[in-house]
Amino acid sequence: MKKTLLSSFVAFGLAVLPLSAQAGTVTVKGSDTMVILAQRWAEAFMKKNPSMKIQVTGGGSGTGLAALQNGTTDIAMSSREIKEAEEEKLRARYNTPPTGVAVAKDGVTFYVNESNKVDALTVEQLKEIYLGDTASWKAVGGADAPIVLYSRENSSGTYVFVKDTVLGGDDFASAAQTLPGTAAVVNAVAKEKNGIGYGGAAYAKGIKELKVKKGAEAFAPSAENVKSGKYPLSRDLFFYLRNKPAGDVKAFIDFALSAEGQAIVTQVGYFPVK
């Protein structure tokens, strides 16, 4: 009986073990902030490597990291650092510590309508606005009009960044309307003269970007200020992997970090890490 049992056991093992990933295809999923950037990288990379296929989709940082846990993506794009719980799940599932690679920098930008008189706010003022404690533009030097808040969905890394960095972990005012992507936030603020929203710097076209005041000075989310750290709301944009980069995945990440890849970062409107 022992032999029979052991044979069954080995047969089961042999039946289920040899499965390998589809070679030549790298899937990239996650942060909406990073989708355009990753698509540009993918296009340039595939031109150089015609046999390779890079598939890029958005969905939000949380979605990308969940896909990484489920084995449905090779790279998770995330505009925030991985959470401890996510890291633990990855370790439990794949028995390896996940790797995070900072591939670009972003200045989280607050947008207001072009007609808004307000040009700059402190982080504290932004906090009060998004907590709902400041409800009128008049309180921060603008018109006597109610502030209309726009926010991202909680699966977004930008949402988490603003919640942690600006709101100090507190929750957004319940009046804040959640929108599915940064482009939707920009569009809403462009239409609503009393609106305020936030997102990646790359999307801030056609509306006014707020400067952030630090002491007497106000800093725009420019490349120089983000790189120098003067702009207080800058963050890294990450690629997360289940393990160390290898093979096709490594080749793609190496390209993103190369001079050519980092030039694309600048073209798209973000800031290089190298």
Partner: protein, 426 residues
Amino acid sequence: MRTLLVALSLLSSSAAMAQAATPQEALPSPRAAAPGEAVEPSTTDVAQPSAPLPPRANAPTVPEASPSIDERLTADEHRVEALEEQNTETKNDLSALKKLRFSGYIQARYQYQEPLDDTGAGGFSRFGVRRGRLKATYTTDVAQFMLQIDAVPAGVTLKDAEATLFVPGTRQQLSLTMGQMKWPFGYEGPQSSSDREFPERSRVVRNLLPSERDRGAKVNGRYKFLRLAVGLFDGNGTDSGTTQDNDKEKDVVGHLGFDLKWIAGGISGWYGHTLGRLPTDTFRHAYQRSRVGADLQAYFDVVPLGGTSLKGEFIAGRTYGAANNATHLDVPAHGWYLLLVQNIGLNDAVGVRYDSFDPHNGQRDLAAGEAPGADNTINTVGVVVQHHFGENLKMSATYEIPTTHVVAQALDPHDNLFTLQMQARF
């Protein structure tokens, strides 16, 4: 759409002309017939603006008016705005629902154990449902509610019922939990059974942390790479056969851990008492119930096949409740395990575990005839192969070979165990 707008235009033009001619009189108009429907004589059915009016004889010809681009855009914008409002409303509803999360898993098994001795006694071949968990978690910024039940053929039992307060301003890094929850002790005890490679926890954990849960209150805190969880518990666990504490004292249980990504671990402590009576006691006596433990987990990425993890834990304690509510009062015991898991690609893994448990430190091995003593050390070697079918289904085959210390004429029981398990999780 264009046809509809033209029809509306015609309708409004005709109505306007009719009104101009006879302002006090409502014009009777026939109702438009549906395809296949007989046309009925009209009555005073004038309140149907969507029904196109047939051209009347001698009526002036109305030129076809098509809406301008601006009109069409405005109409479309209104439509989009209406959809946006509906979308916002739906999202508001969904955002509340998003805070409530249901999860769960089922572990269904086939197990085969050899007859324990050469007479053919003992052993089994059986199907079973080991765990059928359903968990509801509702999380807000300041609070979390968690309820988990276990529905198996033997009945439905409560596993967890926790109420947690996230201390404001700590970004959920500091929390207070009350209710029925897992003891914050060691690694394998608090680990979810759905994440574990082997069907059951190692023998030392099963004996020194039976049921892994208890009623109490605990504080969880994190600071950089350090983690602390410490709490006050009844101490008897949920499998002790009683739902009430049997003494007024509380057991203090805690774990101080670190997490440096590729290596994590910690030390655990437990101190408390429980009332009980040994055969030599006249009255019940408060016996010390204590444990100390250390655990370490390391994750490597050196083999090209996939990740490798090495996990180990040591626990020593006095007074413990083993299976079948048997309480070993004032008995010192210890055990440890070492587990090596190798991932093969994304969906497969193999693991080997060696675990050792001495139910009574310092007691020499005993035997009763051909059977070894109940307190003899048992060492178990186990091998597991597992495969993930997508994200929801895991299948594993495990073979475990326990070896009981024997003396004199005693024989190691033939208690090797094969377990084939399917785990579905959502």
